[in-house]
Symmetry: C2
Subunit: 123 residues, 2 copies
């Protein structure tokens, strides 16, 4: 769970790398869009709490497997998470360093805002 994710390990046996935007190609609007969906926000919060890689399977979500796959792909294509196959498991990790570099403090405020929202009387 604490293995650092690399997107360049194409030569490692059992490792398959999916397409990810370079840091310079990550756009604020895309990141906000990726975070704007409740299921995707839930994934991001889970990954932030884990502070490392998690397989899709261990992140319990209230949607079908194909919908899950879609949401993980949106997060990856918009630069929010890294996804990498390790053997047959697709592992996911937040691109925290990239996001913090590009948009200082933004992810942290979103995570805090989500926590606060959970504590509202109507939550």
């Amino acid at each position: 769970m604490t293995t650092p994710i690399t997107t360049t390990a194409t030569d490692r046996p059992g490792t398959r790398v999916l397409d990810h935007p370079d840091r310079a190609a990550i756009r604020l609007e895309d990141v906000l869009h990726a975070l704007a969906d409740p299921v995707r926000l839930q994934i991001v919060r889970r990954l932030a709490a884990a502070q490392g890689e998690l397989s899709c399977a261990v992140i319990e979500l209230p949607v079908s497997k194909s919908t899950c796959t879609h949401h993980f792909r949106v997060l990856r294509e918009h630069g929010v998470i890294c996804q990498i196959y390790r053997g047959t498991a697709k592992m996911n990790g937040l691109r925290r360093a990239d996001l913090d570099e590009l948009f200082p403090g933004l992810l942290e405020r979103v995570l805090e805002a989500a926590e606060l929202q959970d504590t509202r009387p109507d939550a």
Copy 2:
């Protein structure tokens, strides 16, 4: 430009109030969705810089009038801006106090991130 916006001035002559979500009904996911569009983000940045009400007409945008109207409506319905008719002018203002109360620091980080993004070499 510095007139404070009120959403309860239904008894003022020439003032017509549009529907706005109560503060408690504003959801993080909706705010992120509202901010995730480049045109809407541009509107929010312009209103933040103005620190007061602006009419739709003075905010120059690279889209048609009906598309503008749509974007302003999304921002209002998602709790990001207030819109109020003053005579024939529809005036817009950021719901900064509400957003800061619900999601501390979030709007500020988004505005900063947008500024930073503008300064990127590829911007």
